[in-house]
């Protein structure tokens, strides 16, 4: 048994696989492209480290709710209200108007990219989940 050969084979499979993941594998049906404003919101989201308490698609901290679909389930105005005042648990980040707009634009953008948690899906006999929009 040649260990080096096995190692090389696995690596050889991993490279095209990675390239596929970076390209077609994630070529999702985006409803819209990310606007400049949403891009700014994304940057703010990182600077304020919102991910410490919130998640997108379940990735992030658990102190606050997942924000993937907060816009379609609660509305932009609702999200904006939270950001403006903070809560007992969520700090008020004292965002100015344009920062608030950007943050909401970013949340709106994320909302168009998929459903999380899944609300309309089917489970196959072997345990996989298929969402209705796939």
């Amino acid at each position: 048994m040649n260990r080096r050969a096995i190692f090389m084979t696995l690596c050889a499979a991993f490279i095209p696989y990675s390239v596929y993941v970076y390209t077609q594998g994630t070529e999702a049906s985006h409803i819209r492209a990310m606007s400049e404003e949403a891009r700014y919101g994304q940057q703010l989201f990182q600077e304020f480290n919102c991910i410490a308490c919130h998640q997108f698609y379940g990735l992030g901290g658990y102190m606050g709710p997942d924000l993937t679909n907060v816009v379609s389930s609660r509305g932009s105005a609702y999200a904006r209200a939270f950001l403006m005042s903070g809560t007992q648990r969520m700090p008020n980040f004292n965002l100015n108007e344009s920062e608030l707009d950007a943050m909401v634009a970013y949340l709106e953008f994320v909302d168009t990219t998929g459903r999380y948690p899944a609300d309309d899906y089917q489970i196959n006999w072997y345990g996989t989940v298929v969402q209705s929009d796939e």
Binding site: R3, F7, A28, M63, V110
Partner: protein, 456 residues
Amino acid sequence: MTSDDDGDDRDMIGLQFLRLGMLALAAGMFFGVIGGFQFLFPEFLRELLFTKTRPLHVSLVISWIFLASIGGIYYYLVTQCKLKLFSPRAANWHFWIFVVTGLAILACYFAGRFGGREYFEYPAVLSIPIFLSWIIFGVNYFKTVFKSTEPWPVYYWMWGTGIIFFFITFSEAYLWLIPYFRESMVREITVQWKSYGALTGSWNMLVYGTAIFVASRISENPQLARSRMAYGLYFLGLFNLMFGWAHHIYLVPSAPWLRSLAYAVSMTELLVLGKILWDWRASLASYQIHKHGNAYRFLFAADIWIFINLVVALIISVPALNLYTHGTHITVAHAMGSTIGINTMILLASVFFVIREELPAEVHSGCSKQVTFGYRMANVSLAVFFVSLILAGLGKGFYGGGSFQEMMLSIRPFLLVFAVSGVTLMLGIWIVLFSALRLINLRLSLASRGAFAAEY
């Protein structure tokens, strides 16, 4: 270091990494405990925001895993595998770059300057020195082990793989800097998870390699690291690391086959589970008799945690079940069970193995009362901690009601138990660390006085 005895000088870099790692763990657990209470009582230490305590906790404990693995590798290569380190000076550079960058990262967190990415919450520029230090480590490692004339035992493979995958995780984690990646949410989340697959894969390779090394030494059975089974499990692990990560993104609309493949790949871990059960009795009998009482005991605990975590991992890798568990505290339970129960126990075994080798006159083969007490306290606390997270996760995953606030209220009792057991867990580990640090310090101070050679 003043000693001019080459042999004495060489091993100290390993011990320094171990010491730094233990300090990081002690501090990291402290911030974890604060964070746990902030979760429940938002007023608790409000000045030190949760946005700060969380990354302080995460970065420090991840550093512990890497530092302790690296320290073990430097030490074992030189003193146990009898290889000559390619460049001891580079190893020193590695250490100091790590110290300085680490302090800079902590300072950024305290100052509230974030990069805001999961796991790498510090400003992105600070990754450059980390990347650099890994290049130094990688070159040093490979240049050293390539000197070995015999076929590599499996731990050389694993350590090397861990180093390579660290570069992959790091490169992928920063792909978001390119607009092509960050402007597509699906790509952004998917690549991020792919990168974290390589991150945990990387440290698991380093840690499991260490476990096999220590186990083969204390059982005095080098076959453990050279059998077909050992290499077989290594390749299975590598296969999982490469293709299994997509079990984290079952609900992200990427190409469906990526996710089905990950499901199938994840299930191959059942083989590992079977193997563990098969070996269970044999492994008990073979180590017990030996002189490394402390190291043996921590490996034993790791064995049990591997079993428990594998069962949980297999369950939550089934997409239909993952639907309920993803994004809940069950994921946290799984992460804590593996990083504390498995990785930390293994690395503590490694630390005590090193201590016993270095200070045979100071440490007895059995376990001191202090370590025994800390060990028991930590493991019992971890069990309570783990169960309370699972229950909190089930509460969240199956919550049928409306608001997030009500859901959090309903799982509050579990989170309270979680926070309290976190305190006793920290105290248990602190007791163990205190004992280990005292001995490592003793060894380092002997070396720096050049007195070691004279005394032993």
